[in-house]
């Protein structure tokens, strides 16, 4: 673990490209998903087994939450928003594994996610409302507010990034300080607290992203 989470935690280089701990952890998560999901849903049945039932519950719960936030069919938004939540949960929970650190504890990963959300908001907004109509909302309620609207778009994306990063980074800091001061057993309750914080931060990030996308796609569908 890097002593300073504000600095890049490079493990090795692939040519000129530095490969950090966050990237490796993400690859591990991707590998786990790529292995587990095809196995778990290799024979989806109308009468699901335990694993399929859990996966269905997770997906339908996320879909139901998104339907309440978006006020429309959630399935077009599930790949992005559902993946955000699942990935963030898995990434934030990586802290419980020895030698792993949550990718979200480094600024690059929240920045990457915030960048994807920022771009997705505009893609969904334009595809849903049309470019002119979507861009016109920056001039509302008055064209004079255009700079503030643009600034709002940037700052909310920035806050999305910083909120996730700050919470996870500070949690890593606290754990590191506790390990340094009190040994290995004392941080256990804080690790449990970290699990809760990780899930809550995943939920907050996903919900805020859904709210931004809902505002972009406009009024509730019939």
């Amino acid at each position: 673990m890097n002593a300073n989470p504000l600095l890049p935690d490079t493990l090795f280089h692939l040519g000129p490209v530095p490969i950090g701990r966050a990237v490796v952890t993400t690859w591990v998560i991707m590998a786990a998903l790529a292995l587990f999901l095809p196995w778990a849903l290799r024979n989806p049945s109308m009468k699901p087994g335990a694993v399929q039932a859990v996966l269905e519950i997770v997906v339908t719960t996320i879909a139901r939450q998104l339907r309440e936030i978006l006020g429309r069919d959630p399935w077009p938004f599930m790949p992005l928003l559902g993946s955000l939540f699942i990935y963030l949960c898995l990434a934030n929970l990586a802290a419980v594994f020895p030698g792993a650190s949550p990718p979200t504890g480094h600024i690059e990963t929240p920045a990457a996610l915030a960048l994807v959300v920022f771009l997705s908001v505009h893609v969904f907004g334009i595809s849903s409302r049309g470019a002119r109509r979507y861009l016109r909302h920056y001039l509302e309620p008055s064209p004079l507010l255009l700079p503030l609207n643009v600034l709002s778009e940037l700052t909310r994306t920035f806050s999305l990034m910083i909120r996730l990063f700050g919470n996870m980074m500070s949690h890593e800091f606290v754990i590191a300080i506790l390990v340094f001061l009190a040994g290995f057993l004392l941080p256990v309750p804080f690790l449990l607290l970290g699990i809760m914080i990780g899930i809550i931060q995943a939920y907050i990030f996903t919900v805020l992203s859904a709210v931004y996308i809902a505002a972009a796609v406009g009024a509730v569908e019939a």
Binding site: P16, V23, P44
Partner: protein, 249 residues
């Protein structure tokens, strides 16, 4: 704080791969199975609705058939009642006609028997009347002389006391002896009647003659307090009185 742009780019790509992975291996299969389950639910609901509709239709058909059966039953009952009523009326009419026939026959028989009885009665009455006439006229005098002889014979047959009572009746009351005949007596016959009666009843007797056709035949001697009848009418009355008790018995 430093940002490693390589890491940012790689994480962005990594997240997009995660999106693809989850969409390919999680969302699509789960959504497909959910849609299949919903479609199965819709089919089940549709089939249940179809079965409910079929059951409803079967129920309606059953109720319609039951109604038709009940209607047919009511029709049959009405027809049966009509037939029974008709048969009853026919039987009553036959019985009434039969009773009327029996009654008419009884009346006819009664009338015939009554007529026969009446004929028999008429014959009996005729016989009786003939007998009465025969008895009334038997030994009865048909002319004035014979009548006088019949009266005199009767007076001569009376006892002295009876004859004396008749004389006393005439003398005490100074009444008249009225001789009533069915037909007018001639003067000569009157003289003979008067002289013959005066010889038996005394010279003091005043004798008057009168005619009464209701006597039919014969004569009657009317004393003040007694009547000696020798008429056919009186004879018939006596016969009638004699026959009545016998007839009533």
């Amino acid at each position: 704080m430093l940002i490693d742009w390589w890491t940012l780019a790689i994480q962005t790509v990594n997240f997009l791969v995660v999106v693809w992975l989850l969409n390919r291996f999680l969302y699509k299969p789960v959504r497909r199975i959910i849609e299949e389950r919903e479609a199965a639910d819709v089919r089940a609901v549709s089939e249940a609705k179809k079965k409910a509709d079929d059951a409803e239709a079967a129920k309606a058909d059953y109720e319609q058939k039951a109604a038709e059966l009940a209607k047919s039953q009511r029709g049959l009952e009405a027809e049966l009642h009509a037939t029974m009523r008709k048969e009853r009326d026919t039987m009553l009419e036959d019985a009434r006609q039969e009773a009327d026939g029996i009654l008419a026959e009884a009346r006819e028989r009664t009338e015939r028997e009554r007529m026969e009885a009446l004929e028999g009665l008429k014959e009996g009455i005729a016989d009786l009347a003939g007998e009465m006439a025969r008895k009334a006229l038997s030994g009865h005098a048909s002319n004035g002389e014979a009548q006088l002889q019949q009266v005199l014979s009767h007076l001569d047959g009376l006892s002295d006391q009876s004859l004396s009572d008749l004389r006393s009746d005439l003398e005490d009351t100074a009444g008249a002896l009225e001789i009533v005949s069915a037909s007018e007596l001639g003067e000569a016959e009157r003289q003979r009647w008067q002289s013959a009666l005066e010889r038996r009843l005394g010279n003091g007797a005043r004798i008057v003659f009168s005619v009464d056709p209701s006597l039919i035949e014969g004569s009657e001697l009317h004393f003040p307090h007694a009547v000696l009848s020798f008429s056919v009418a009186d004879r018939l009355r006596q016969l009638s009185r004699e026959m009545k008790p016998a007839h009533d018995a």
